[in-house]
Symmetry: C2
C-alpha cells in the first residue's frame, strides 16, 4: 500500500509496473523530431471520421486499443480506467472509449490529465485495488482550435507566445509489480494562480504550478534534481520553460540540466512554425509513452519525474476577464523498484 | 484496505466515515420540498457575483467552506479533494476552489460526479491514503442553460421531457472510521449508450446506466433492494425513473418501493413548472448532503444506495448527431459499519 509522507506526496510500497503503453499521433507530429517514436501515426486529420471531434475520439480509441494489444491483453482484462481530455464534457474520452465496456473514472486536469491519471491508477494499484488499470488522454489540434480559439477557416494570426495543440494520445496500463518501468512516487498538485490572463501565453500561467509540484516532490522525498535523468513538464513551451527554471532558481533549485518540456520536444520550432511549442493533453502523454518509457524500460535512462501541466481555464472564464489557474502533478517513474535510503 | 470483489465492486474493510457534509442551494430550490433541508439557500442567482459562472464558483466555494466549518476543520486539514462540474473545463470547481489551496484531483462524470468523487475518496480513505478527503460538485441553472441550451433571454420553450438544472451544491469530507454515516461499498459504472439522441430527454438516456450499476451492485454484494431504505438516483426525472423501474423489472429486480430520484424530489412539479424534474451535478449532491445524510447519521434510516447519474454528452456531440452515453456509480452508505454475513 502506498505510504503518504506529506499532504501531497505518496511513496509506493510495491511500485506498480507500467505494464503496457502506447502512443498515436497526427501528421504534423509525425514530421517532427518525435515522429519516429510513436507506435502509430495517422496522416488524415479526421482519422477516417466525419468531424474533428469524432476524429479525436477515434485517436484515443486507437491508442488504448494499441496499449491493450501491446500488453497481450483484451479490454475485459482492464479493471477500470481513468480518462479525460480537453474537449467540452470530455467527449473525446466518452465517445472514444464507450465501446471498450471498461468501468470508467472520468477525470479532468486539462493538460495535466496524464499525470493525474497515472497518479490515481498507481495509488489504486499499489493499494491492491486492481490488477490492470488504464490511464489515457488525447488532444487534437483542429478540435481544440475550434473550441478554444478560432475556427481554422477564419485564419487567425497566432501570437509569438501561442502554442500548437498536438494531435496525439497516450495510454498506459498499470499492473502490480512486474518488470520496469515502475511508478515509485507521486505528488498531487494544487491550483496555482498568479494572475496571468493571456490565453495565448499559457506556458507562463502553468510554470508556477510546475515549479510548485517539482519543489514539493523534491522536498518531500529528499531527492535532488541530479537524481533524475529527466524532469519532464507537459507543455510549458519556450516561454513557460524559461520561467520554470527561473522560478526554481529563486528557491535554489537548479533543474536546467534535467528539464525537458514535451511542448518543446514535439516540433522543430524553426521548421514547423509552431511559435512557442506544442501543447495539449496528448503532447506529454504521447511523448511519455512514445519516447521516455521505452528508455526507462531498457535502462537507457533510470529515473524520470513526469509533471504534465494543465491550464484550468475556459473560453467563458477568459471572456469574463479571469486569470488562468493551473495545476501539475508529479509522477516518479524509474527503471528500479527499490527505494533510495533517504526516501520515505 | 478496500477489498475488490468483482471488476466493478469494492467493499470497504474499515468503512470510512462521512465526517462532515454541507449543501447550499438557490432560490427556486429553496422554494421546493427540499428547501428546508439545505444548510444555506441564496435568493440571488448571481450569488453576489457579476456573472452566473462566477456565481456558480461562489456557490461551490460556500459549500466546501460550510462542510469544512461544520466539521470544525480548516482548509489545511483536508489532504486533498475530488471535484468537477458541468461547466466547460470544470470552471466552477477550478475558480471556486482555488483559494482553499487544497491539493486537487479534478474529475468529470457529468451529473454522476458526486458518486464518483465519494467513491474515489472512500477508496483512498479506506486504503490509508488520507486523513480527510473532500468530494464536492455544483450546478447552476443559468450557467447550464446558457452553455447547453439557449441563452435565458431567448425564451426557448421547454419540452415536456426537459429537466431543470438545479442551482445547488454538495460537499462531503471523508475520514477514517469514526461515527456514522459510513461508506461501506462502491460499484464503479461503465459507459452505457443505448442510442438515445434527444438532449431534452436525458433521463431516458441515463436510466440504463443506473440500471446497470444498481444491478451490478446487488449481484456483486448479494444484497436485495429490501436491504435498503432508499435506492437513490441522481436526476432521471419522471421519464427516466419510470424507465429505470421497467428495465430492472425485466431482470426480476423490483426497486419500486425503494427508489427515490433526486430530480423528482427537488421541486414540486405541479407548482414549480419544471416539467420532468430537476437535474445537474448539484441536484443529487445537495439532496444527499441536505436530506439523506442527516437521516442516515441519526439512524432514522439505515442503508442507502446513492447512484448519481451522468449524461456524458456535449452540445458539439449532439450537433453532430451523436447519441448520449451515460454513466452512474453506486455508493452504499449506512448507519452501521459492520457487514452483513453474505457481503464480500
Amino acid at each position: 500500500m502506498a505510504k503518504k509522507i506529506s499532504r501531497n506526496t505518496f511513496i509506493m510500497e510495491n511500485p506498480p509496473t507500467i505494464y503496457s503503453y502506447a502512443s498515436v499521433a497526427g501528421k504534423k507530429e509525425s514530421e517532427g523530431p518525435m515522429g519516429k517514436y510513436f507506435d502509430e501515426t495517422e496522416q488524415d486529420g479526421y482519422f477516417g471520421q466525419k468531424t474533428w471531434e469524432k476524429g479525436e475520439s477515434e485517436l484515443i480509441k486507437r491508442t488504448l486499443k494499441k496499449a491493450i494489444e501491446k500488453g497481450g491483453l483484451a479490454p475485459k482484462d482492464i479493471d477500470y480506467m481513468f480518462s479525460g481530455d480537453l474537449l467540452n464534457q470530455c467527449i473525446s474520452s466518452t465517445y472514444g472509449l464507450r465501446d471498450f465496456e471498461i468501468p470508467l473514472f472520468g477525470i479532468y486536469g486539462a493538460c495535466s490529465t496524464m499525470s493525474e491519471g497515472i497518479a490515481l491508477a498507481s495509488l489504486m494499484t499499489d493499494s491492491g485495488l486492481g490488477g490492470k488499470i488504464a490511464a489515457v488522454t488525447s488532444s487534437h489540434f483542429c478540435s481544440a482550435e475550434r473550441q478554444f480559439r478560432f475556427p481554422l477557416a477564419y485564419g487567425g494570426v497566432r501570437t509569438p507566445t501561442a502554442q500548437w495543440t498536438c494531435t496525439a494520445s497516450g495510454a498506459v496500463i498499470l499492473s502490480p509489480k512486474a518488470d520496469a518501468p515502475y511508478v515509485r512516487a507521486v505528488t498531487v498538485g494544487k491550483i496555482i494562480d498568479l494572475g496571468v490572463t493571456d490565453a495565448n501565453n499559457m506556458g507562463a500561467a502553468m510554470a508556477p504550478a510546475a515549479a510548485y509540484v517539482i519543489e514539493t516532490f523534491l522536498k518531500d522525498t529528499a531527492m535532488e534534481p541530479s537524481d533524475f535523468d529527466a524532469i519532464i513538464t507537459g507543455d510549458l513551451g519556450l516561454v513557460g520553460s524559461r520561467l520554470l527554471i527561473e522560478l526554481l532558481r529563486e528557491d535554489n533549485i537548479d533543474i536546467s540540466k534535467q528539464h525537458r518540456d514535451c511542448g518543446m520536444m514535439m516540433f522543430d520550432r524553426e521548421e514547423q512554425d509552431v511559435h512557442a511549442g506544442g501543447s495539449g493533453c496528448g503532447c506529454s502523454a504521447s511523448i511519455l509513452c512514445g519516447f521516455f518509457l521505452d528508455k526507462v524500460k531498457s535502462g537507457e535512462i533510470k529515473n524520470i519525474l513526469f509533471c504534465a501541466t494543465g491550464a484550468l481555464m475556459s473560453t467563458t472564464a477568459s471572456q469574463q476577464g479571469e486569470s488562468i489557474p493551473s495545476i501539475s502533478h508529479a509522477v516518479f517513474i524509474s527503471n528500479e523498484s527499490r527505494f533510495k535510503e533517504n526516501m520515505g
